[in-house]
Symmetry: C2
């Protein structure tokens, strides 16, 4: 290469060396008759000093010009300890413009408030920012750690097809019309699930892939039509084997990117316990703030709200603050968004009780509240009533909100846990039937095998999620490898034998020819990167993302296509 | 894991150990009242011996059953030196059936003649073959070597989008209808070309990715609608820098997979030289068999065919065999397929000349032929006449065919070379205009910059291909980074400013904001794997391939979709 060094590596060790650098003009300035240029590339910034005014008409140089300089590394008069190259500068003997630059539509600078669509239109300029570059270097590093880990552990990386078959169950597929098979469509994979199970039947034993997946779901902020997951599967492996494997991986990732040592084995809590204590199946355990059952406390209450509760639950959390009016309004809004019409509360201030529930609160109830919530100082109790799951979910959301308001956690902490023993089914109000909570190839837990298709509500799955700082970053299960259990499962989700045959016949047939038991897991790479990079936007970890309408303002994709293209596909646009 | 070992690792060192193995029954046999089972998994085969007839009714066990056994490693009476585990066997104390297996539709065995569609329908069974498993282990290894190499060299792996924009120029795009943006379509990338160039403008400096690419081309045997390429790009890099980089990679791949040391730098020949000597731009240099110009020899000939040749060329190759009738028929067929109506020949047998051209061959011509073709012993000369490129191409194909017939090369040899100085344009008869030979972002060679848009036929590109054993396994170029040159290029391929703006405006605009010069390359992973695995079928290196109609007989993709799916996309099928 023509350059001898990049812009981030010269130090005192290089003093006296003749160097050639290439990069972008970050800024130029004049000081005491001398000209200085900060030259930037991906690796850093190096200060250039130009003593000879005849080298180039420096007024030509604007920010973002690409230049090449030759010169000598000399000691800086005033060193800058914040820069790696801060001890030196390059005394330029030759300077050449490689390419000029127009004024950029926004400054290349972190934390700049700017129109989001403008930034996306000029994504290649936004990507020049140090913060974004760091994110993608991090992403590349994490991918490397993952692949090293799996290769070291005898896994085979297999590329599964992007052109697959559309199946019912699950999210909506993206379709690709086939030109050579008129009126037929490929479907883009929502995950390589079926292929990886077939690889186990094929005897590949251990498979992994960093795979592109696609779901045509309704768009939201920070949901992208394409996403990336680590996908893995192991033969002759139980859920515990998989959990150990994933823990090994995450330990490595977090050590190598954050220098944080995870304590393993990670905590495992059941789905039921997660809902009971934290109201949510992906609890953030960087803070405690547990939910407590209060039905017993209020069994003989004078408080109208808590009388005649029948099958309802009364549950609450304690906040170690006297919640102000504005904050209480925020929290009530969160309650409303979670279908909880109101959020009753009690304040305990200097031994005195106040708040919406205080009026008819008995001495015995006060005593029990102090005991159950372990009240020792001023605090607020948020106590809600309603159907168990609804109240739990609302309090789970409120719990997260409270933690944010009062900064109850260290944002540099990484907290991981497994949630296990998930329900095998969930009831779909829309379809008025039980559907597979995970997918219909999930093995029921040992204790549910005999009756999962009868006691659907209670049936548990050999399925597990891994949760990081309150986000589900992945999950998996043991798969059904017994033909009879698979048949019962399809029947349980009310698929007719004809529908099973038509959609999954090719797949379940494979289990007739000698299948090992197997389990696997998938991790959402985009989400993990967001947490590691401490960003709230998925776009900060995806090089060329779509906006919340599924559009890339840079390329203007998706776009209209020519009538000829549609003709070839034998398609027409309909109204 | 429950198993203590896999089926490919037990040796004398393990004698006396209690082990648990899991795997597939390869075969069972009875010998001297004892029962033997060969147990198979991905890692190998281990022999099991069952002395206790009461352990299991062994007649139950059929090939491909999945079983688990506990037992002790003992010495084999008759060791098998061809097996890694051949010195030992496992004396079984406990045996359990994990899963049964029906009779497979074909035997799990390499080199088995079987219906191709049946094999693809039961791909998971075909994938159990040792040969295929080896190919995918090799593929995984090659991917690992590539990524290690680029990470070690400071490249950033960036995932570019699968959902892009359809553009004219190049092959036909696969389209994905957008549900949220009615009547608009994403296009699947034919390569990440434009994105990687933008990453250079974004200052990523060094980029790589193992990327899925898609082209909706007419199907042929061994052409897949999706394929995988290593894609890389470097800023401040010339074609030579890229060639050095790729040589470093290929040296590593070939050493680590074949234990063959490549001699670098690899040979570089120009496109013109390749056509002149080998008739083809991807010559197989494992054998010599050069083409020679014969116009001078026949300038005053009595041979009718070679009289009045005007601008035609007379060119020939020497085959060091007296080609038989049958072989000559094959070669004539190859000539015909390459638009050469006939293939005149001369045989030199014991100093005597014969063949279709021998009749009027003068003594002087004989002398010159002996000199130019360096004839020393019996041989056949194949001499053709016609337009230079046509004759060259036909002789190039014949050259390859001859090498196959007479096995002129060692099939274990790996031969690599660069072909450089490609034409910038090629003339499209169909469109009656010059089109970009590579793509319209390819930088003209230094000597063509001043007049490439005038002398299109002579214009050379800063483009290069890498050729392995006669296959083009990749190529790249320096990219245009100067706005003026880019404009002239678009004009040269007759794109109107309006069309440029509409299709590429977003892209060329990026070059206004400070672009480094940059070059890159892409390598076809599938093709490289075919060569390394010494297979002629691309399906042997793709886990779940499509057949030559673009169909996966296993899943039956592509398939019809529901009217509801089409409604949501606002599409109708047309006739």
């Amino acid at each position: 290469m023509k350059r001898t060094h990049n812009c981030g590596e010269l130090t005192k060790k290089n003093l006296g060396q003749k160097v050639i650098l290439q990069g972008w003009v970050k800024k130029t300035r004049k000081l005491g008759g001398l000209n200085f240029i900060d030259l930037r590339d991906r690796y850093g910034v190096t200060q250039l000093i130009i003593e000879d005014a005849n080298l180039l008409n420096l007024s030509l140089l604007k920010p973002e010009f690409v230049i090449e300089v030759s010169g000598e590394v000399i000691q800086r008069k005033n060193s800058n300890p914040e820069m790696f190259t801060g001890e030196i500068e390059v005394k330029v003997s030759k300077i050449e413009i490689i390419n000029s630059a127009e004024l950029t539509p926004f400054e290349i600078k972190d934390n700049l408030e700017s129109n989001e669509d403008t930034k996306m239109t000029f994504r290649y300029l936004d990507l020049r920012r140090e913060e974004l570059q760091k994110n993608f270097i991090l992403r590349s590093k994490v991918n490397k750690i993952i692949r090293d880990y799996y290769c070291e552990n005898d896994f085979i990386e297999v590329e599964t097809p992007i052109f697959g078959k559309s199946t019912p169950e699950g999210a909506r597929d993206f379709l690709v019309p086939s030109r050579t098979n008129h009126h037929k469509f490929y479907a883009l994979p929502q995950s390589p699930q079926l292929y990886k199970q077939l690889l186990m039947i094929a005897g590949f034993d251990r498979y992994f892939q960093i795979a592109k997946c696609f779901r045509d779901e309704d768009l939201r902020i920070d949901r992208q039509p394409e996403f990336t997951q680590l996908d893995m599967e192991m033969s002759f492996a139980t859920p515990e084997d998989i959990q150990n494997n994933i823990e090994g991986l995450l330990t490595k990732i977090i050590w190598e990117t954050k220098k944080i040592k995870l304590k393993t084995p990670l905590p495992r809590i059941t789905y039921a316990e997660a809902i009971s204590k934290y109201g949510i199946d992906k609890p953030d355990l960087r803070f405690d703030l547990q939910i407590h059952d209060c039905n017993n406390i209020f069994s003989k209450t004078e408080i109208n709200l808590f009388q005649n509760i029948n099958s309802d639950s009364v549950r609450g959390i304690k906040v170690d603050h006297l919640i102000g009016k504005k904050e209480m309004e925020y929290l009530s809004e969160t309650a409303n968004q979670n279908k909880l019409p109101n959020l009753p509360f009690l304040k305990f201030n200097n031994g005195e009780w106040s708040g919406s529930l205080a009026k008819n609160l008995s001495d015995n109830e006060k005593k029990n509240l102090i005991e159950i919530f372990k009240i020792k100082s001023d605090c607020t109790l948020l106590i809600a009533k309603g159907e168990y799951n609804l109240v739990s979910q609302a309090l789970g959301a409120i719990r997260n909100h409270v933690a944010k308001i009062y900064e109850l956690f260290d944002k540099n902490e990484i907290n991981l846990l497994w949630v296990i023993d998930f329900p095998l089914f969930e009831f779909s109000e829309e379809e008025n039937r039980f559907v597979a909570a995970h997918h219909p190839f999930t093995q029921p837990k040992e204790e549910s095998i005999s009756d999962f298709d009868v006691n659907k509500k209670e049936a548990l799955a050999a399925a597990y999620d891994i949760v990081m700082n309150g986000f589900e970053i992945g999950g998996g299960s043991q798969r059904i490898t017994n033909e009879e259990i698979q048949k019962r499962m399809f029947k349980a989700v009310e698929m007719t034998p004809e529908s099973v045959e038509k959609n999954f016949g090719w797949f379940i047939n494979a289990y007739k020819f000698g299948a090992p038991y197997h389990s696997g897991c998938a991790l959402g790479i985009d989400r993990i990167l967001m947490i590691l990079a401490q960003t709230n936007s998925i776009r900060d970890v995806i090089a060329f993302p779509k906006n919340s309408n599924g559009i890339d303002p840079m390329t203007n994709a998706p776009d209209v296509v020519s009538p000829n293209q549609l003709d070839e596909l034998k398609l027409k646009l309909s109204k």
